[in-house]
Symmetry: C2
Subunit: 167 residues, 2 copies
């Protein structure tokens, strides 16, 4: 099934992501970049995973939006190189937190829709929403904690000025 340990890791992370309701390829890309020491181009990733460049393009940007991958621009190079962020834990938790908070808001809004005549339902729904909200708070707090513990990155995008001066 798995030829190499690399592939095993890539496929496992892909399956885990899929089980969480995400595209499998997104997880595979992340795993691929985590294993790689150097940033990889879109084409390299696509070939490694045996998928289309279109998928990689879409999903690597989704990962970027979640704060899990970064583009590494090289001066004088048009090509986009991608790397996994050094400590993805904080971003992962923060993404979860945001989802929870959105859910909390939606549910709380519904709780308000229940008039005072349905006090019982209103309370139960509100309680449900509160749970989501406190979960969001909790996860966010934890993410902060992790990010503090980990060597902090500056938010500025990393630029390799590895310019080889052409003759």
């Amino acid at each position: 099934m798995h030829d190499t340990t690399d592939e095993k890791f890539i496929e496992t992370i892909g399956l885990i992501w899929q089980a969480e309701g995400n595209p499998r390829i997104a997880g595979q890309i992340l795993a691929c970049l985590i294993l790689s020491d150097d940033p990889r181009s879109l084409s390299e990733i696509a070939e490694t995973l045996g998928v289309s460049k279109a998928s990689v393009s879409t999903n690597v940007r989704m990962l970027e939006a979640r704060g899990l991958t970064e583009k590494v621009s090289r001066v004088g190079q048009r090509i986009d190189l991608w790397k996994a962020v050094p400590h993805p834990q904080g971003a992962t938790l923060r993404a979860m937190s945001q989802r929870f908070r959105r859910n909390a808001d939606r549910i709380t809004e519904i709780a308000h829709d229940f008039g005072p005549e349905a006090r019982g339902k209103q309370d139960k729904v509100a309680q449900f929403g509160d749970f989501y909200r406190s979960s969001a708070d909790f996860l966010e707090q934890w993410a902060d904690q992790l990010d503090k513990a980990a060597p902090a990155r500056t938010t500025a995008p990393h630029i390799e000025d590895e310019t080889e001066n052409h003759g």
Copy 2:
């Protein structure tokens, strides 16, 4: 779109569950039972949600396995009545925790597969697994805290009888 606030809640929870990679109907059933003061029969639930009894049967038992619903047996009554557990938060967190722990185990195992000659990869993968494991610990701890804070049920709803083998 939504006729009643009840339906709005039911559909919203269904969508949230679906976004998490679960069957939508499972979330709808849970929402339905949360809104209901009295336990509901399988047929009632099916009619309320406009879905087949087969789906309700399957999903309500999935919810039970996760500790979110309970069967209420009545003496001299063959019919199964279902209710949502009083405080589903703990069970929700515990289910998440278990998923995280399974993921952690799988990843750690892969980390071991990397020989010492691939120290860099081994470390990165192990770190990844550790994150999942500490997340699992964290969630479980929190679940305990919530369950302690909430009025304890007299009947212990332990679902942990299933021995968790790593294999």
